[in-house]
């Protein structure tokens, strides 16, 4: 350990004076300091990615299980009883198990996969490489960030195996349901573990976020002004700012909830009679938690989405061999989204009895977000226009991202409008909306990033054929699953209903539910194929033979094919131009490191 730290302080010193050779120390690292407690941002990025993939499989599997219940509510699956015992008595998923699955699916995918797995991976991998730094501002805090995430994961995993089951109050964990042990099995130790895990996760996220911000602000190489930063870096920057400002609020909400659960306080509790027991608590407000939760919860949506947007911008530009259209507008819209993200949280609460006037303010601010979002979409479209597009798997996923972002963004205009939200709130429409725009779209951004930067991460390519199959099945499947789901919402079917037989108004979609279940199983299987492709290609993939396989301008492609710790062997390159000079003056691409020529046209 200490040896590794000496090496890294050496790295920092070398960075400060901008010279030195770096090849000498790699062979000194032990397995533990190189792959386990690594302080190399690239390794930490890979750790986040692989941990995120494990969680994605778990979270995805949960969704397959509860889709089985939704598609085939009457059928018995004896294999479920084999694996889950009492939770699936008679081969049928029991309600408490169902709600545990739903809750874990949401928590795991929102926080562990699409927050840690997405921005943890790509902020770590790309920030130093694209701004021209040897590592993060604090490699040690960076390592801690991963390990806090890891411990948070262990605690969450443990909660799945406790006797009373995991937390089952929905990923939003609203009290009083989540505050009262009497309210159900999942509200017992499972919820405490959930809260502890989230607290650890927030620590991880803050350590990471502060590191990303300080690295981007302080450690850019010579010539890399803020307006020469590639868009993924800007996106990661705003993501980190959002996280740093909003996660502490969730932490406070979670801690108050822990107090209410364990210390007898009444922050969220008042006037409660549960199972015939009259509780002494008076004067608390259950709605307070919702404000605290959504003050994080809404920025969280953008914490998930912005990195995907940034990477999609980069990948579309590189592969259409054209500059990103409207770089400054892209920046401005990212900034606008980041600001507005903090001012719209109560649109999740239109029907909580919120003051109608306050509601109307939130309607205005919410629909305002559509403006920067529209700018981004039009700019992506114009980036493709008159390009010369190479459909790498990454490009396809980026195009898919734009398509899904349009579809899911437009349904947001329904839900952000409080009048329509009265009808659609907490129905399957909401489920369809956020799965498309936040879930699948961000996953597409993540896949695009993995396919695009895999050569940088491992010096090999992913198998293309599997990549194309992965894209097409996932794209078609995503629409088949979530598009018709909007109709269930329009019919008023509430979320989290595991069986609709007892209802006169909601019982007309049996066939549809079956179709969705079948498709989601297929899509899940294809994700497993991707995971297989990933691990197979790390060891057996086609080797990268050129340092810059995509013909890209950004700095990460100026390193060796398999860069060691410190990234560049000699001096860190100097930057002379913005990263999007593609197709300029008859040249296919002009790397950022190339000085501006005397006769070069201006952009």
């Amino acid at each position: 350990m200490s040896e590794a730290m000496n090496v890294h302080s050496g790295v920092a010193a070398a960075h400060a004076v901008h010279h030195d050779d770096h090849g000498h120390h790699h062979h000194e690292q032990s397995f533990i300091s190189k792959y386990v407690f690594s302080m190399d941002h690239k390794t930490i990025g890979k750790q986040f990615l692989i941990t995120g993939m494990v969680w994605a499989i778990i979270g995805g599997l949960f969704s397959v299980l509860f889709r089985l219940q939704l598609g085939y509510p009457d059928q018995s699956f004896p294999i479920l009883e084999t694996f889950f015992g009492n939770w699936a008595k008679g081969g049928q998923i029991q309600p408490e198990f169902y709600y545990g699955l739903v809750t874990m699916h949401g928590t795991v995918l929102v926080f562990f996969v699409l927050t840690a797995g997405l921005s943890g991976t790509f902020a770590n991998l790309l920030i130093p490489l694209q701004i021209g730094a040897r590592d993060m501002a604090s490699p040690f805090l960076n390592m801690l960030s991963y390990w806090f995430f890891f411990i948070a994961g262990i605690v969450m995993l443990a909660s799945i195996f406790v006797h009373t089951g995991p937390a089952s109050g929905g990923w939003t964990m609203y009290p009083p349901l989540s505050a009262l042990r009497q309210a159900g099995e999942g509200q017992k130790i499972g919820t405490d573990l959930w809260l502890i895990s989230m607290a650890l996760f927030i620590v991880s996220s803050l350590l990471g976020g502060l590191n990303y911000i300080s690295t981007i602000l302080n450690m850019r190489t010579k010539g890399m002004s803020m307006t020469r930063l590639p868009l993924p870096i800007w996106a990661m920057f705003f993501t980190a700012v959002l996280g740093v400002l909003s996660f502490p609020v969730l932490l406070s909400g979670a801690i108050l909830l822990l107090f209410d659960r364990n210390l007898g306080t009444s922050f969220y509790l008042s006037d409660i009679v549960i199972n015939g027991e009259i509780l002494p608590n008076e004067g608390g407000s259950a709605i307070l938690y919702q404000h605290l939760f959504w003050f994080l919860g809404h920025p969280e949506v953008y914490i998930i989405l912005l990195p995907a947007m940034g990477m999609v911008s980069e990948i579309l530009s590189v592969n259409s061999r054209k500059p990103i259209f409207g770089y400054m507008a892209m920046l401005g819209s990212l900034f606008a989204i980041a600001i507005l993200a903090f001012l719209v949280w109560a649109h999740h609460m239109f029907v909580t009895g919120l003051n109608p006037f306050l509601g109307s303010v939130f309607v205005l601010l919410t629909l305002l977000i559509a403006v920067p979002s529209a700018i981004k979409v039009f700019n992506w479209l114009t980036t493709l226009w008159r390009g010369n597009i190479r459909f790498t798997p990454a490009t396809l996923f980026a195009i898919g991202f734009v398509s899904l972002f349009i579809s899911g963004g437009l349904t947001g205009i329904f839900l952000g409008n409080s009048t329509i939200d009265i009808h659609l709130h907490d129905t399957m429409f909401v489920v369809a909306h956020f799965h498309i725009v936040m879930g699948v779209a961000s996953f597409f951004g993540m896949f695009a990033g993995v396919y695009h930067w895999f050569p940088k991460m491992f010096g090999r390519y992913l198998n293309n054929t599997l990549g194309y199959m992965h894209f097409w099945v996932t794209m078609i499947g995503a629409y088949l699953i979530f598009w018709p789901m909007h109709y269930q919402g329009l019919a008023g079917i509430p979320r989290r209903y595991l069986d609709k037989k007892g209802w006169v108004s909601f019982n007309q979609f049996g066939e549809l539910d079956k179709m969705i279940t079948v498709v989601s199983i297929i899509v899940f299987a294809v994700q497993l194929m991707f995971v297989f492709n990933f691990f197979y290609s790390i060891f057996k993939g086609r080797k990268v033979t050129t340092p810059n396989p995509w013909g890209a301008n950004t700095l990460e492609w100026t390193t060796k094919i398999n860069p060691g710790h410190g990234n560049w062997e000699g001096e860190i390159p100097e930057v002379h131009r913005w990263p999007y000079d593609y197709g300029k003056d008859g040249r296919e691409f002009i790397p950022q490191t190339e000085p501006v020529g005397a006769n070069e046209s201006k952009h």
Partner: protein
């Protein structure tokens, strides 16, 4: 056995796919990577176009299949506003959806890599960007304007002649209280809740407004064309009064009463005819995750004429008399023992 077969087929399919994928890569390398890459590029370009066309057909087909299954005519005056807003938004977003999706996939197809084309260096155009900032801004302003206008109509004060009903959610069912002849719901306190003593709501018997309040469970009765104001609460955790046919919804929060009002337009009987479904019934669904029985937390509403409603209400005994049979004049006549006139004296508010 079935499961085993499914797993076996999946594994086999996977193995075959993987072998094909591996082989295709070897072939690509053998034939010259650039050449096969360009072929794949053409294929994917074509697939994107096909996806657009088939996707749009799919959207149409999906709508044909499912449009009859969504709720149909709104059954309340507010519901009409909600639906109107919804269809206006649908029209606007559908136009945007078509334009942008067509552009996305068409550009992808049209501008796929070709040796003949050079990408057009086009970093920005302020005029264009201004246009597509301003147009969405104006469109959204219109939508916000409509939305807020309707929103204030729906959430504004209930008319003075509205009848009141208290709705209380609990794990996992609904309770209702009618104010009786005086039109005022008596006071309640949660520590008074005692179902064993026939006080499920926690009414304060000293409050004389409570004396004619009627308590019922699971089934609420409303009067057609008469505004109703629901006073909503919850006993244990947050629930939500979801009235899909009326297009209304409001959370039931323990400790913080909420309200909503609307006017039912059709009686249950009329809705049976309209929907052609003899089993039709208005349902109350819990729309806020409330525990393991959330999915089955169902209540029903009967909308009827004023006469029918009056007859129904008259058939119900006020909860005060149920809890205190000694006070019940109808009981007192039949019973000799139950005469303790001095206990539980009525205190004025």
């Amino acid at each position: 056995m079935q499961t085993f077969f499914i797993v076996a087929i999946l594994a086999l399919g996977f193995l075959i796919t993987f072998q094909i994928a591996k082989a295709s890569e070897y072939v690509a390398v053998l034939r010259g990577y650039e050449k096969s890459r360009k072929q794949t590029n053409k294929l994917n370009g074509f697939m994107l176009l096909a996806f657009l066309i088939l996707g749009l057909i799919g959207v149409y087909y999906c709508n044909e299949r499912l449009k009859g299954k969504i709720l149909g005519e709104p059954a309340s005056d507010h519901g009409v506003l909600v639906d109107r807003m919804l269809y206006v938004t649908l029209a606007v977003t559908f136009v945007v959806f078509i334009i942008t999706q067509v552009a996305l996939f068409w550009f992808s197809y049209k501008y796929q890599e070709s040796d003949k084309r050079k990408a057009f260096y086009y970093p920005h155009n302020n005029k264009l960007e201004l246009i597509w900032t301003v147009i969405p801004a104006i469109t959204l302003t219109v939508l916000v304007g409509f939305g807020i206008f309707y929103w204030f109509k729906i959430t504004g004060d209930a008319p003075d002649d509205a009848m009141q009903v208290e709705v209380v959610g609990k794990q996992f069912g609904w309770e209702f209280r009618y104010p009786g002849k005086d039109g005022v719901l008596g006071k309640k306190y949660f520590k008074n809740v005692n179902p064993a003593a026939n006080n499920p709501v926690g009414q304060i018997w000293e409050d004389r407004y409570n004396h004619d309040d009627v308590f019922v469970e699971q089934e609420m009765h409303l009067v057609v064309n008469k505004p109703v104001k629901l006073v909503i609460g919850a006993k244990d955790v947050i629930h939500d009064v979801g009235l899909a046919h009326f297009r209304m919804k409001m959370d039931a929060v323990p400790g913080t009463p909420t309200t909503m009002w609307f006017t039912p337009k059709y009686t249950t009987k009329q809705m049976k005819e309209k929907t052609g479904n003899p089993d039709f019934v208005y349902e109350i669904s819990c729309d806020q995750m409330c525990g393991k029985g959330h999915w089955s937390m169902r209540g029903t509403i009967i909308v009827e004429t004023q006469e029918e409603f009056d007859a129904w209400l008259a058939s119900k005994k006020p909860q005060y008399y149920v809890a205190n049979p000694d006070k019940d004049p109808s009981v007192k006549r039949d019973s000799v023992i139950a005469s303790a006139p001095l206990t539980g004296a009525v205190i004025n508010r």
